[in-house]
Symmetry: C2
Subunit: 322 residues, 2 copies
Amino acid sequence: VSEFDLIARYFRPLTNGMPGALALTDDAALLDPPPGRSLVVTADALVAGVHFRPADAPGDVARKALRVNLSDLAAKGSEPMGYVLTLALPKPFEEAWVAAFAAGLGADQAAFGIGLLGGDTVATPGPVTVSVTAFGHCAPGTAILRSGASAGEAVYVSGTIGDGALGLSVLEDGAFAKTLGEQAAEALANRYLRPEPRLGLGRVLVGQATAAADVSDGLVADLGHICAASGLGARVRADRIPLSPAARLAVETERVRVADLATGGDDYEIVFAAPPGLADGLVKQAGCPVTEIGHFETGAAVVLVDEEGRAISLDRSGYTHG
Amino acid sequence: VSEFDLIARYFRPLTNGMPGALALTDDAALLDPPPGRSLVVTADALVAGVHFRPADAPGDVARKALRVNLSDLAAKGSEPMGYVLTLALPKPFEEAWVAAFAAGLGADQAAFGIGLLGGDTVATPGPVTVSVTAFGHCAPGTAILRSGASAGEAVYVSGTIGDGALGLSVLEDGAFAKTLGEQAAEALANRYLRPEPRLGLGRVLVGQATAAADVSDGLVADLGHICAASGLGARVRADRIPLSPAARLAVETERVRVADLATGGDDYEIVFAAPPGLADGLVKQAGCPVTEIGHFETGAAVVLVDEEGRAISLDRSGYTHG
């Protein structure tokens, strides 16, 4: 099959509901945010063997490619609307792989209310490479940037931390998976393969959070990005970092430290700055876990401390996808 | 060097003039078209060994990645404003390659009045892969689509056809380059390496052309896209297809047929539909060559004919990058 066949069979149907996509039959697409809204744009590329495992189900690869971008939009407090996809595939094109990949896109499009706007499908002598540019919208001036935190504000994080990195370990290390047990291993693998962008929380944070970032490189690294953009440091209580039952099991029974989880990647939670004491209210509004884990302070470093305020060493400051 | 170093050293300076890029220090960028204008979006991916030669100068690769997208925006009659870049690079990252690549982007940004909005830099075990999503704007409802042509309208094309494909032949085949001579070979190679998006013509075509496409897959293939979208066929006079002196030399002295040039790729001219007899006026308004080469008719095929109306066989219907 040619790229024209793939586009007509699998990608054209994904433009459903996006008239500006012109059914992928034109050189470009037309995109307007809803009246009175500003556009938010983000892009992430995923390479087989680097950002996903070549054997991962194509539908999961597709969903991850969308979700890592939707997670960025969520952290800015914006509403997703559509995306552009460039896909580099080894030749000969494997139609079954593309069909399953497109089915994954279709499922997530329906789940998140977005549509395909355009893109490009090309051959590569290298690994599958997926690049997504995603579009969201927000009221003008309301996007939550990394740069708005103040000293004295609290550090919050959504959901649980470390599951993504543990999920990858479980998938790559059968012995580790076995000692954790089937239920924990499956829960962790699922977090790695199918991250959940915190779009509902992002909506709630508009007007309440002063700065936010999504946790893709690791809690410490992404909190560090907020600190760098805001000209601050931050102090985080390791014992307050929220862990899933599976991650807690790994910490209690394996050689996994909370510091490792705080520097692992692929969580796709939101770390944000807001006045202290808001966690309970935000949980009620957003319907997802939110935990206050520390505070911003003058300085430039992210310091992880124990219950008595003693600094905990970090073997690494964050996972780099490369 | 890490991808963070590359971003800070080489890509952050390219956001100059794009406040919405947030200096590449955030999860996303903010993008608003000028007041009262609609956004136009296009994306193209280039893979080393497929869309450019691995030995090509990095600055030329960068410029080609931008220009093939700007060519799409030009064909829609839109004004370019910015772009998002995802770049997959083999590890270890070659800083000198990235520096030269970014210098090429910078030169073209200045030439075309655009800026970098955001992106992603990742490692790949495969070849360099460049994906650009470019943004333009137009007055609402004025984008020139592929679907607006009518039977009886003329087929026009800008500039000259076939130089891009001949340029690639010249670069790959030293003997062919030698028989053509240094001057012709250099002119053709330059067309392949540094296409010129027809942005000035695109502006002039708004309100005058009823349909347009850029010539990336080859004149016959891209005219075929207009025909398919418009539900028409087209008849093109081979002897009217505009050729550069170097391409004419290749036709007269080598085994190159005009039909080969009409089905070659990488011209990045604009093929468009408009009422007959407008060429002279368009040349004056746009300051670039425009030639009337045929007409649209009922049917579904693009037919190349000689002076006496006899169909000329096409060995291939267009160059497919794969």
